[in-house]
Every structure is written in C-alpha cells, then in structure tokens.
C-alpha cells in the first residue's frame, strides 16, 4: 500500500476543492487533493456555465448576490481566459409582469450589482431572436465560464504552489483516532481506481469539499448533516442563437435562463430534490419543460436542434431542511466539525455556487489555518492563474487561430475545431483514463455529431501515441502526465501547433521517412506486456450503491484487470458516454445524426464486434447509467 503524508487533505476535485488546494498551497501548506473521478466530474462540470452577476439573487438572497458580484469582478481577472464577457439581460416577458421588476432594480442597488435598464428596441437590436413581446430589459454584468478550463487552471496554479492532485482516487474511509468527545480525523483510506491500488493518506486536516456528496463523507465520521442534492437538468442547443445571457426577470424558477457558452446555448434548469447525488436521470418532462420555458424568452427556440442534455446536482445545505429544494439557501456552509461535533481535524464546505468558489476556498482555508496555525495571508483574489494573460475568450477564437495558422487540415474534432496537436498535447500532458477526460480538456466530441467522427480519430491517435512510447515505462500514466500539467494554452489551436508540443517527437513525424517504424519490425502486432500491467480492481463500492444501473454485467468482468488505454475500451466508453447525453433528446435532426453515428460505428466499423468486449474501465458503469426517455412527459 502506498502512503502519503500531508498537512491538508482536500476531498473533492470540483471548483471548491481545487480552489482550496490552490489557496492553501499559496499560503504555504502542504496539500494533497483527491478526486474519485476526473476533475470537475461532479457538479462543477455539469452546470450551465453562468458567471453570476448576482442578479438572480438580489431579491431572494441578497447576501449571495453581493458575494457573486464581488467574485465576478475578481474571476474576470484571475481566470480571465476561462470567461467570456457576454453580459446579461433580465427580461420581463408577458408572464413576468407585476411588482418583481421594480423589486429587482431595488435589489440590485442594495446589493451592489451593476444594473441598467435598456430599451426593448436596443435589446432586440442586440439579440434579434429575443421575444419581441418583452416589456422591460435590465442589463447586468453576467458572463459565461468554462468551468472545466477554470478548474484545470486553478489546479495548475495549485501544483505550481506545491499541491499534489490525485484524480481517480476515491475516498474509502476516514482514519479516525481517539474516543468519544475527543475524536480526531488523521487521514483517509483511498483507492487509486485506475491502478487498483490502495493508498493511505495521513493529514492533519481533512477538508470535505465534496459538495452534494458531503453528507456521505461526514457519514464516514459518524456525522449526519443535511445536504440535499438538488438535481438540475440542462438542455444544450446546437448553436448559440443568443450571445448574451438572458434571464427571466422573476423569482428564480425552472427554465428561466439561457446561457451562451462556447458554441452552444444552454437552457437551464430544473430543480428536483433527489436522494442520491449520482442520480443523473433526465426525465422527458424536464427536457420538455426546458424547451417550453426557453420559448418564452426566444420564441421557436424549441424547434432548433438540441445537441445534448445532462443533469447536475446542486449541493443545497440546510440545518433543518424541509420543502422544495430551490428554497434551500444558495449561500455556502462552512462546518467546523470540532466545534459542532467534537471531531478535530475535519472541516466540511458545501453549498454555494461556482461563481463564489474562490471565496468559499478562502474562508475554508482561513478556518483550517485557525486550527493548524496561520501561515501567509490569502492572495488568490490578486493572483492570476496560468493562461489568464490571454484575456477573456471569445466565441471565434479557435476559428481565428486555425485560419491564421492554416490548421484546417489538422482538425480531428471538426465540430469544435480541435486539432491533432491540441489532442496530443492534452493527452500527453494531462492525466486521463477515458476520452471523456480529454473532452473536458479540449471540447472533443462536444459538437453536433457528438463524437460521430472524432471518436475513431481520437482512439487511433491515442493508440498510436502509446505505440510510439509516449507513455513508456509509465503504465500508470493517468496519474503522471507531464511533470507539470500544462493547461494554460490547452484550448488554443495556435499555441498547439506541430512541433511546439513535446508529442511531435514521434519518429514517423519527424523525417516523414518511408518505412516501418523500428518497434514494428518484429512482426505481428499484439498486446504489449506493459499494457496489461495496470489493474482496475474490483470496484465493489461502485457497483453496489447505484440500484438504477444495470446489475447484470458478466461476472468475469469484475475480477478482470484491463490493460490501460485499451483502444477498444476507450472507443466503447466514449461512444456510450456521448450516447448517455443524447439519448434524452433524440428526435428530428439529432436522431438523424445518431443514426449516422450508428452507421459509422455499428456498420462500417462494426465496433460492436471488437475484441476485449468484456473489459471495463473505472467509468464504464457510470456511462451505462440509463438516460433513455421514460413515459413521464409531464411532471408526475
């Protein structure tokens, strides 16, 4: 068993956890962060991408509103390249008449959220598809955020400052010493799910930053807290339609916001209290509701092509919880378990929202420091993460760079303009277990065809990289990657041209010389020994606690240890992962697209009859979660 000694162990690789690791490392603490899947895999990577101005909270939750506008101004500087400056409208549709708009204006003034009423004509000129029947429009400094990139960037900054980040490391239990009234968390038992290894991490402070999963972690210390997973479904339209965030000017409710993020427009969201944060079902009634509500802001939006749907879970903390979950507070909750439950060395941070992650981290590390002894002061509000020098991103930046550098022939994911070098550099320099991890890095497969063309290409390229020895001697490369993860320019085609990345040193790329590559001359190609080394292990805990999943997988799979980066497994996993998000919205054009993807993979490739069909990765079961429509077309 591997042992790690650290000062602070952060559990959870979302925005909050990574923010804590960054902050604590900058203050001079020795920090280790564990995340059971990939960074942002929980809630951070499943939200609609709004950089709140605070406008949504000015009436209902003024404290949150003030926090939001404060953090909004900071993140635009510290994480500039992760943010698009879209601006935001609050529009009064015919259904929103009443006293709310005036309360809204008043709330903005009281909370410090910049707000200006603009003429409807002006709003329609800027956003011609907006409902022409709106009566008033207020503009606020909303923006949109790439939460994958922002979290990666925060992590890179944390690693620069000395933090250790371990993805695909799942918390199995807390190590607790002492008896009643004098208990102390001294570390955690962790499972490296990629390698199938146990790891023990000793720490003076364990910070539970698992968001909607926080109650499950405190349970490991025998403490019950009320964190309600509030499930929200989001629907992404195939193209932006709008370039400004548009909110309904009313009390926050289902489907009242359209957020243009990168190439898509996201309609959000529902809010359903669920018992299990892993319950990511997308009900037909939720999809239908998003489309119907979206039409109220942008008439006929529902007739445009839907590219995907997904669900995320908000962490909603309430001391004495009851009632509908949207009414639970969106303020964050910082729990000192020593003070509350007599358990030393253990802090929980939950609640809140992406926009306030940095503030949450600051307050959390302040509390940790009060126990561990203060070091340096917090500097995250004035420290830019790597890559922020690029300034705010804008929709056309990839197109622009590709044309400037003439990289059109290099495109691997044609929908989202991902070049081969971007893919290779991300794969080489960042940890990954599945192509889905690469997707979050470079937006692979996130466009209209949903992996229809790029899955094959990405699998072929990763496989070739493996053959060329890119990961030689590092069978467990998914936790290695490069010495330093390089994410600063990960999304920039111009910064990832052939030769600039270290991947370019593959033999066949240099000379363009004709002939066999040395390692292939031995004859037939088969499994290489080092590929079979890693083991994924039993994954008992993953299979047990999710009743909705298919429980009838062949028994022999459980004990099998798949070779890492088996191309057939990469391919199957990613196709299923993409399917999971399109299955809820398959009709019309996206159904046609799916049928083309079927023709490619089930017929031309015959990829459902490849060898290694019994292999499973740490994510296979997660991807098999059933998201196909049920009969609930209206809220049951």
């Amino acid at each position: 068993m591997k042992r790690i000694e650290t000062e602070i162990l952060v559990v959870g690789g979302g925005a909050t956890g990574t923010g804590i690791a960054w902050d604590a490392a900058l203050r001079g603490f020795k920090v280790t962060l564990i995340e059971k899947r990939d960074l942002t895999h929980g809630t951070t990577g499943r939200y609609h991408g709004l950089l709140h101005s605070g406008g949504r909270y000015v009436v209902k939750d003024p404290v949150s509103a003030t926090e939001c506008i404060h953090e909004n101004r900071i993140l635009r500087k510290t994480h500039a390249h992760c943010i698009e400056n879209t601006s935001g409208f609050f529009a009064v549709t015919p259904e929103d008449e009443g006293p709310y708009p005036d309360k809204f204006l008043e709330g903005c003034r009281a909370t410090g959220v910049d707000c200006a009423e603009i003429s409807v004509a002006d709003a329609l000129r800027r956003e011609p598809l907006l409902n022409p029947r709106i009566s008033r429009v207020f503009e606020v400094p909303d923006g949109t955020a790439d939460s994958f990139l922002a979290t990666h960037a925060t992590v890179q900054a944390a690693r620069h400052a000395g933090a250790q980040i371990l993805t695909y490391h799942e918390l199995m239990g807390l190590i607790i010493e002492g008896g009643d009234g004098n208990r102390r968390v001294v570390g955690a038992k962790v499972r490296d799910v990629a390698k199938g290894m146990d790891v023990e991490i000793r720490a003076q402070m364990v910070i539970n930053a698992t968001g909607a999963w926080a109650g499950m972690v405190t349970q490991m210390a025998g403490v019950a807290i009320s964190v309600v997973p509030g499930k929200g479904v989001m629907v992404a339209m195939n193209h932006r339609a709008l370039n400004t965030v548009v909110n309904r000017c009313k009390m926050p409710a289902d489907g009242d916001i359209i957020v243009p993020v990168h190439t898509v427009a996201i309609i959000g969201t529902t809010d359903e209290r669920v018992t299990d944060p892993e319950n990511l079902r997308i009900e037909p009634w939720e999809v239908n509701l998003m489309l119907e509500e979206g039409d109220k802001l942008v008439p006929n939006l529902s007739k445009a092509r839907v590219v995907r749907a997904w669900a995320g879970v908000r962490p909603l903390y309430q001391e004495d919880y009851a009632g509908a979950s949207r009414d639970a507070t969106r303020k964050f909750a910082l729990l000192d378990h020593k003070e509350r439950h007599g358990i030393d060395g253990f802090i929980t941070i939950t609640g809140g929202k992406w926009t306030t992650f940095r503030l949450m981290a600051e307050k959390t590390v302040d509390l940790a420091a009060s126990h561990l002894g203060a070091r340096k002061p917090c500097v995250t509000a004035t420290t830019a993460v790597p890559g922020a020098d690029q300034g705010n991103y804008w929709l056309g930046h990839r197109l622009h760079e590709i044309e400037e550098q003439k990289l059109q022939g290099q495109l691997i994911c044609e929908c989202e303009l991902v070049t081969r070098a971007m893919l290779e550099n991300a794969a080489k320099q960042n940890p990954l277990l599945t192509l889905d991890d690469l997707r979050r890095d470079v937006r692979l497969g996130m466009g209209p065809c949903q992996g229809g063309f790029c899955t094959y290409r990405a699998v072929g390229i990763i496989h070739e990289m493996g053959k060329a020895g890119v990961w030689e001697g590092d069978a467990g490369h998914q936790t290695h990657a490069a010495e330093e993860w390089d994410v600063a320019y990960i999304q920039s085609p111009a910064r990832n041209v052939n030769g600039s990345g270290s991947v370019g040193d593959r033999p066949q790329q240099q000379g363009g010389s004709v002939g066999d590559r040395p390692q292939q001359q031995g004859g037939s190609v088969g499994d290489r020994p080092q590929q079979q080394g890693g083991s994924v292990g039993d994954r008992p805990q993953q299979q047990g606690d999710r009743p909705q999943q298919q429980g009838d997988r062949p028994q022999q799979r459980a004990g099998q240890t798949p070779p890492l980066f088996n191309p057939n497994l990469l391919l199957r996993d990613f196709l299923q992962e993409r399917w999971k998000g399109v299955a809820p919205i398959l009709w019309g054009r996206q159904l046609k697209q799916e049928r083309l993807d079927e023709l490619i993979y089930l017929n031309v490739m015959n990829a459902d009859h490849l060898p290694d069909d019994q292999l499973a990765s740490a994510m296979t079961d997660f991807y098999l979660f059933d998201t196909t429509p049920n009969e609930h077309e209206v809220h049951p």
């Binding site: 056309g396 400037e404 003439k406």
Partner: protein, 423 residues
C-alpha cells in the same frame, strides 16, 4: 450591418441541419482544384457556429474563394443553406476588411453597362487591348485573361423597345418581362428573342421600370447597396405581382435573386418580398407550365444540329429541375445534350478576378472537356449570361441563350446573326 442571426428564417440557423458527412466538400468543384478554399462544410455550417455576434472574422480569406455555385446545397442530404451561409460570411468579412475597388466596380453591372454604352465601340476596343488589360490587372486585380462582355453596338434594349413600341402585340393575356442588366446593355438580342416568343404565344409584354437585381453586389459582399436595389425593385414590381401578373425573366441569376437570394441574404421577409418572389418565373419554367396546360405553340421549324446545353448553377437554387430540357427537345431535329458538369467555373464575376482566374478555368475543365466530346458542334447554349461569356471564351464556340434557340425554331430569329428575322 450586423451579420448574425436576425431571425429563424435567416440562412444561418440552417446549420442545424448539418450531420457533418462532408458530402458537400467531396463534390465541391472549387475545393477539388485548390485548397485555398477549405470546402463548403468548413466555411459554412462548421465555421458558422463560431461566427455570431459580430466578433472578428476569419483572418484568412478562404471563404472568399467560394464561387457560389451551390453544388454543396444540391448534394447536401439534409438541406443546409451552405452557399448562402458562405455568402453572408463573405459579406461580413468585407464589412470588416473593406471591399476592394475592383469588387465595387464588378458589383455594379448597371453602372458599368451605362458607362460602356456612352461609347460602346471604344469601350469594347479598350477591353481587347493587352496594354489596358495589363493595367487593369495590375491596378485593379481584374484578370487580363478573362473575356469581358462586349457592350451592345446596337443600342440598349430599352432604346429598341422604344423604337419598336408601335409593333408590340396587344392582348388580353399579359406578362411582365424582367430583362436584367445584361439584356439591357450587352445582349439586347436575348430580350428581343424573348419578346418574340412571348408574343408568338399570344402574350402582350409589359416591361415596367426595373433596376438591377443586385446579385453582383451580393456576390461582391456589398449588402447595404444590394438592399437598396432590392427595395427599388420591390417598389416597382410588387404592384404588378399583386395585380396577378407573372414576372418572367431570361436571366436565371436575376430571377433567382428576386425569388430568393435578395430576401434570404438580406433577411428581408416582408409580405412585399414574398408576393414578388411568388410571381417571379424563369422563362423556361414559365414555358414549361404553359406547355403543361397545352397552351404553348409548337409550330417549330426543324433545327438540325447538336446542341450541347449547360444548365447554369442558378438552376440548382431555383429547385425547378431542368426546364430547358423539358422544352428544347420538342424542337424537331435538334439534338440537345445536357451537360452534367458541375459548374462552368465562371461563377459571375469570379473569373474576372486575377487571383481566381485559374481556379475558374480548372473548375470549368469538366464542362469544356465534355463539350469537346460532343464535337462537331457549331454552338453551345446556356441560360445564364456570365456563364455564356465564360463558356464562349473557353470553348471558342458561340454560346446562345436557349430562348434564342426557341425563337429561331419559331422562325422568328436568326440564331447566327442574333437578330429578329423581321428586324
């Protein structure tokens, strides 16, 4: 002018239909011969998702190499308005980078027409002088190899109309003729042939005030100017449409512009624009309908010859099939052979541009080779004027409008001398 989505009727949202299959790029005649153009899918539905909001546009000019032939639209299995998306992207780029003087000149066929008509002999002579053309190429970027149209030496179509007014047929059955700039200034005989055909079939022809359809401007990315032109035509022509007139044109590009190009590219979806579009007919589309009703005269004289006919790219966009092939084969003796070549390469004013001349010639090779295979032939035919000029220049064979052939079959027109028999 903001180029982003104005309405769901705009061409932009049709990108939603794209399933990424790349059939368009595989059939694109321009992408086939040059990689200065990265193909219709790349420039069209793919790039369009990155193009909203008036943000800075493509720094390269690859979309400018799209010739607008619409092979992509035709082969697209899902109905993406690829060529139109590209045209709008060109316009956006032009709005940012500015429009070269050359393109401004080439975009104004009415103004060029009027200028040349001041002294057509001199103008035509100038156009044939190597020295002058070298200057034009050096200064303006107008290819010195491209054959320019020749200004009419017999006066404009309007002047002939005025001269021949007393001879016009009066009839209960009326039709409006939209002649366009080329008939007006360069090829009045095409208009005369059309008038003869209309009248032979018993129709009184009304030629109301009309302006350039604006297509050359649209092609050269001058949207605001084109919008002005279109509004004039709406003002002049829509009243006729609303009185029930059919507005028939001999230029496939002009009729297409009135029907679809102008409203779609300029996002003008008013009732006026719709009413006008509904009343506009291509002349062979109109004749086919007349024939289907059994009302087209077929008192043809035989024409014994092989006639290679090239349907111009605009017919693709009309979505009316190949109406010329429904009518010309009715002429006894005439062996009309339809070209299946994708494009002649000329593409309106494309071939006149120095940097595109060779591409235009390479694209057209498919057609020129086919014409060669049909020899011996004495002439070819094509429905669009700029195509005719380009095909003549490349094949060294006369190229006629099919309406001239039809008028000749009625015995009203001398196909060789390009004049009415009674003139």
């Amino acid at each position: 002018m903001p180029m982003h989505t104005q309405s769901w009727e705009s061409v932009g949202p049709s990108l939603d239909e794209c399933i990424k299959c790349n059939i368009c790029t595989s059939y694109c005649p321009v992408a086939e011969v040059t990689d200065k153009f990265h193909g219709p899918k790349y420039s069209g539905p793919q790039a369009q998702r990155f193009r909203e909001n008036g943000q800075p546009q493509s720094p390269d000019h690859s979309v400018d190499y799209c010739s607008g032939c619409r092979v992509c639209n035709e082969v697209c299995p899902t109905g993406v308005r690829i060529a139109e998306i590209n045209a709008r992207a060109r316009a956006q780029a032009a709005a940012e980078h500015g429009i070269p003087l050359r393109n401004r000149l080439l975009g104004r066929s009415d103004m060029l027409g009027k200028l040349g008509m001041i002294a057509p002999g001199l103008a035509n002579w100038g156009m044939r002088q190597g020295f002058a053309r070298s200057i034009a190429e050096g200064v303006l970027g107008i290819s010195k190899h491209a054959q320019m149209p020749t200004w009419s030496r017999e006066g404009t179509f309007a002047s002939w109309l005025k001269r021949s007014a007393p001879n016009r047929l009066r009839s209960e059955r009326k039709v409006v003729y939209y002649h366009g700039c080329s008939t007006m200034y360069y090829e009045p005989y095409v208009g005369k042939a059309a008038m003869a055909v209309f009248e032979h079939n018993g129709f009184e022809v009304v030629v109301p005030e009309q302006g350039c359809c604006g297509l050359p401007l649209l092609n050269n990315a001058e949207f605001p100017a084109a919008e002005k032109y279109h509004h004039h035509n709406l003002e002049w022509l829509t009243p006729y449409a609303r009185q029930g007139y059919q507005i028939v044109g001999t230029s496939t590009s002009c009729t297409l512009t009135l029907k679809e190009e102008a409203p779609d590219m300029l996002d003008i979806h008013t009732p006026e624009a719709r009413d006008l579009a509904l009343a506009v007919w291509d002349i062979f589309e109109w004749l086919r309908e007349l024939h289907a009703q059994g009302q087209m005269k077929t008192d043809f004289q035989p024409i014994d010859m092989v006639l290679p006919y090239h349907p111009p790219c605009q017919y693709r966009a009309h979505h009316i099939g190949s109406p010329v092939m429904d009518i010309l084969p009715l002429i006894p003796g005439l062996d009309v052979r339809e070209s299946h070549a994708r494009c002649c390469g000329g593409a309106g004013t494309y071939v006149y541009k120095k940097e595109k001349y060779q591409i235009a010639m390479d694209v057209g090779q498919e057609l020129f080779t086919w014409v060669d295979e049909q020899r011996p032939v004495t002439m070819t035919a094509c429905t669009s004027e700029t195509c005719r000029w380009h095909i003549e220049s490349a094949t060294k064979l006369p190229c006629r409008h099919p309406i001239e052939v039809l008028a000749a079959a009625y015995g009203l027109y001398d196909l060789e001398k390009r004049k009415l028999t009674k003139e």
